[in-house]
Each structure stands twice: as C-alpha cells, then as structure tokens.
C-alpha cells in the first residue's frame, strides 16, 4: 500500500474528513459536486493546505509535517500553471533543478521526458504558445520529472475543448498506466472518471459517500449526485424480498433485497404509454410530462408523478405519443433492467 491518509481540514462552515488509501500503480478518482472538498483534499496531500487532524503516510513514512517542497509528490493543476516566463523545457527542468540536479542533467532529463510525451519540437516554446493539449502534457511531464511517489491531478482535462479532451484523455490513460506510484485524480466529468480510474471515491460535503470500481458505481449509485452523474434514475425505499417499495410504488427488480434498499434503472429502461398498458402491472404508474429535450440521437422525457423519472425515447416515439409538457402519461420500467441493492 503506497498512500494511506486520513485528511481532516476544518474551515468555518466546512469540514473535510476523509480516509484515503491508494496502492502502488493504482489510480483513484475523487468525484463530487462543487464545494465537496476535492481540491482541499489534494491540496492537503500536496502540503499546500495544513491538516487540522489526521496523517499522511507514503510508503510507510509520515509526510504530513513536511512542507510542500519536501514531499515526494507531483501535482498537475487544473489550469496547469505552467510558468509563463519559462520555456516548456525549463518548466520541466524546474523540479529536477530544485531537487539538486545540475543544470545540464535537469535539461537532459526534461528533454527526454518531453520526447516521450511527443513534444520534442516544442521544447523552446513558451506556455502561452502551446495548445491546451500540449500544455497538459508539459504539465504532466513537469510533475513526473521530480519522480514523485504520489501523483495528484486536479481536473486535468477541464480546460480542454471536447475534441482535444478525447485525445488527451486517452493519452493521460496511457501515461498513468506506465506510472508506478499512487495517483489521485479529481474530476467533475463522469466520463473522465470512468476512463481513467481504477477506483472511484465520491465525496459530498466533505465526507465519502460511496467508493468502488467505476462499473460498480455506475451500476449501483447510492446518492442522487452519483445517480445523476451516471445518468440513472435512483430511488430509496424498503425491500421486502420480492420488491422494493418507494412511497406508494413497488419496484420489481432483478435482485432480491430486504430492508432499506435502493432501486436504480437507466432512462432507456423506461417505456411510456398514452393509455394504461395491458399485462403485468409491476413497475407501472401514471405521471405527467414535465419537459422534453433532445439527448443525443434520442429524446429525454422528464415525467412528474409519485416519483420523478427520466425516460429516453426515440424521436419517432415523441411524435407518435405527442409528448408535450403537461400531458398525462403512463410509465413502466422493465424489471429486468432494474437493479435493487441494500441501502
């Protein structure tokens, strides 16, 4: 186990209290709404924000008393923070220089790293003249140049346009798989999280609310925030083995759960009908259309009712069903695509 940390940071009206362990070569992603404390956690790990309580252990050595400049970490900041007055090469060479390498050595190392990032020809360019993606790679090279044992990335893709983002995301994925320290990554983007992380840690309001592999979390969200993030409908109810009761409704699901339980299903598992459909009455209720919006090739319909629900239907269905806001509609959810799990 490489990183083992308990991070407590108290601020007026905010308290972050987080246990975090990251193994060698593992990538853990911190996810959470604005103001959840993600940046604060990274800053505490890097030594830029002091801990109120807790400790940070890296490879068994406590580093929480060390100032930032003595911690073996590399940080890639959200907007990179490349030094604007230094060339790409000197940006990368900055760390090794500070850690005692000679100027020539540091530049050699920096040149190698830039080479490996495919940026050899940009070595002498100032950051202002780099594209977002190039800057991202320089920032990563700069962080890696100090040979950190802990790599911290704060929304490293937030500043990119959609197109560059795709490229950089896979690039980053490739780089991270070659890095054998521990990596903690902060992001708002569910796709980034899914693609890059071995494990997700979801924080809300300073505390961990869910933890697990991307697939696990995508399938079994435990809070509204996570559900919305992965695009599922989520309700909390009471399982009685066969079904999960949510208010007046009862959801049949694949799994059998007793006691407090969640039910989750994707918008595409929801079918809409103008009249009450025949057949088994399970997972069926009447609601009222709240809004309709295009969503990729499909159309997403928001339905009010005993519980609010989002449904994805084809444009053809919209025309056929005349899905205009205010109209009453029948909602049914396929039990086979509904997941239930203990709350």
């Amino acid at each position: 186990m490489t990183l083992r940390a308990r991070i407590v940071v108290e601020r007026p009206a905010f308290r972050l209290d987080l246990d975090l362990t990251v193994g060698r070569g593992e990538v853990v992603t911190l996810l959470g709404p604005n103001g959840a404390g993600k940046t604060t956690a990274l800053r505490a790990l890097a030594g830029l924000t002091p801990l109120t309580e807790g400790s940070i252990e890296l490879d068994g050595v406590r580093i929480d008393r060390e100032p930032a400049e003595r911690r073996p970490v590399g940080v890639v900041f959200q907007d990179y923070l490349l030094f604007p007055h230094l060339s790409a090469l000197d940006n990368v060479a900055f760390g090794p220089r500070c850690r005692g390498r000679s100027k020539a050595e540091a530049r050699l190392l920096a040149r190698e790293l830039l080479d490996r990032m495919g940026l050899a020809e940009f070595a002498s360019v100032r950051p202002r003249r780099l594209s977002g993606g190039q800057a991202q790679r320089v920032a990563l090279a700069r962080a890696l140049a100090v040979e950190p044992r802990l790599l911290l990335l704060d929304e490293p893709l937030a500043a990119l346009d959609a197109h560059t983002r795709l490229e950089i995301r896979s690039e980053l994925r490739r780089r991270l798989s070659g890095f054998d320290g521990a990596t903690v990554l902060v992001t708002h983007d569910p796709l980034d999280a899914m693609v890059l992380a071995d494990r997700l840690v979801v924080i809300e309001n300073g505390a961990v609310v869910q933890e697990g592999t991307p697939t696990e979390i995508a399938r079994r969200p435990r809070t509204d925030y996570v559900a919305r993030l992965v695009g599922l409908n989520l309700y909390r109810g009471e399982g009685d083995g066969d079904r999960v009761r949510v208010g007046d409704l009862a959801f049949a699901a694949e799994e059998h759960v007793t006691g407090p339980a969640f039910v989750a299903f994707a918008p595409r598992a929801v079918a809409l009908y103008r009249a009450r459909p025949d057949g088994s009455p399970r997972n069926l209720w009447e609601g009222r259309i709240d809004g309709v919006e295009r969503h990729g090739d499909n159309v997403r319909v928001h339905v009010e009712g005993p519980v609010p629900v989002a449904a994805d239907v084809t444009p053809a269905a919209v025309a056929e069903l005349d899905l205009t806001p205010g109209r009453p509609i029948w909602v049914s959810v396929k039990a086979a695509e509904t997941h239930a799990y203990p709350a």
């Binding site: 030594g47 830029l48 930032a68 400049e69 900041f77 030094f83 900055f94 760390g95 500070c98 100090v146």
Partner: protein, 257 residues
C-alpha cells in the same frame, strides 16, 4: 465621447503640464547652450543620474524583499510596519535628513560606531547622497511592489513549491519574474523621486560640487541668485528624465499590477 471623463482628465493634464509650460515660456533659452557647457552643470547632472540610479538599486535590493515580507508573510505588528513604511513620505525631507544624521551621522546611533570601527562616515559623501535619496524614495518602491505581489497569482508559487523549490527559489525564479512589471513601475517612481530629491540630500549629505551637489541642489542655489538659471537647470533635469522614461516605453506601467 464621455465628456464627463474627458473634461476633468484634460483639466488634470493641463494642471500637471501647464506649470511646465510656464517654465518653458519663462526660460532664457538663449543661455541654454552656454549653461550646458558649464562643467559644473554637467557634473551635477551626471551625479544626479548616478546617485538616483544607485539609490534605486539600493531600494530594489532592500525594498523588494521588504515588500515580499509585507505581502506574503504574517507576523504581529505587520499592519503597523506597513503604515510606517510611508513615514518618509510624510516627513518633511529636511527633517528626514536630520533624522538620518541622528542615526548615521558622525555622532549618530550607528554612524558613531561606523566611524570608530571603519573610520568611515556617510555625510558629505556621494554615498551619503545615495542614502538620503534611497530613504526618501524607498516607500514608492515598497508600496508599488507590495501591490503587485498582492495582485499576483500565488498559485504559481504553490506549483513551484510542489516541485521542490524552497521559498527563496520560488521568489527568485517564479515570483520575481511574474511581478517584474510591477517592480519596474515601482523602480521608475523611485528613480523619479530620487532624481528630484532635495531636502534630505542637502541636510544629510551637504552640498559640494562634484561630490554631493545634485541637480536639485544646483537648482536651489541658482534660485537664490538667478532664478532664470534655476529654471533652465530644472528643465534640463526634466528633459533628461522624460526622455529616459519614454525610452522605457509603455512597459513600465504596462502590465504592472
């Protein structure tokens, strides 16, 4: 055009520039070539430029770290110290000169010791002129640089710290290059003020041609006997400083914070 802005702006400009025009009109231009050929005038001009530049250098060496201390650290009494930095602004320069004599003069708190230990005394020397000018001009530098430091993005400094840079390395290799325009602006103010400095200089360093007689001192003495000569000398000083400032171009206020 926003006349409510342009009219007072033009008035303000006129207010600053018209007196200069008054001097220009009144100056006995015909005597200019002759004055400029007087060795004493050139000597005073040279001394002014040299001492003002050296005073600016002293202010940079001491004042930039001081600005850093005031902007980037927190210690009890910081607010009071920051207000004390403006003291040489409020102190009438002649009193400033007296204060310097009390501390650095032959019988001053520190001067006494300098004299007995090194046989070295500041008053009546060119070094004394530099000290007097630096004392009066340093607040400008400190306040301008402190403002720039407060406006600068500390995240670059944090980034440098995570790369292993000590606080001094951060300062030298990151902070300083980033606030360079602010430092330049402060240095210009500082230099201009040092160039025009009169009261503290004459009180602390005295007035001896070629050693401590800067242009403002020459101007003051010329005022006693031939006011028009004084005007010509002032204009020469002004012209030189404006030429130098324009040559430094937009940069100096440019990106200054």
């Amino acid at each position: 055009m926003p006349w409510l802005l342009v009219v007072p702006a033009v008035l303000g400009m006129a207010f600053l520039v018209l007196p200069l025009a008054g001097l220009l009109v009144r100056a006995p231009w015909s005597t200019l070539p002759w004055r400029l050929s007087e060795p004493q005038v050139l000597e005073a001009l040279r001394l002014s430029l040299v001492t003002a530049s050296m005073a600016t250098a002293v202010c940079l060496v001491l004042g930039v770290p001081l600005a850093w201390l005031l902007a980037r650290t927190d210690f009890p009494g910081r607010r009071l110290l920051r207000a004390l930095v403006t003291v040489p602004l409020v102190l009438p320069p002649v009193v400033g000169g007296v204060a310097l004599l009390l501390v650095l003069g032959r019988r001053g708190l520190i001067g006494q010791w300098l004299e007995s230990a090194f046989g070295f005394s500041l008053p009546f020397t060119t070094a004394g002129v530099v000290v007097a000018e630096a004392f009066v001009a340093m607040p400008f530098l400190v306040i301008a640089v402190e403002g720039a430091l407060r406006a600068a993005d500390v995240r670059y400094e944090e980034a440098a710290a995570t790369l292993g840079a000590s606080r001094f390395t951060v300062f030298r290799r990151v902070t300083l290059p980033l606030v360079a325009p602010g430092v330049l602006a402060g240095a210009v103010l500082c230099w201009a003020r040092a160039l025009g400095e009169f009261g503290a200089t004459i009180t602390f360093a005295g007035n001896f041609p070629g050693r401590t007689q800067t242009m403002p001192l020459a101007v003051y003495l010329a005022l006693e006997t031939e006011p028009e000569a004084a005007i010509v000398l002032s204009l020469v000083l002004l012209a030189v400083s404006v030429v130098i400032l324009v040559a430094l171009r937009d940069r100096w206020v440019g990106a200054a914070a």
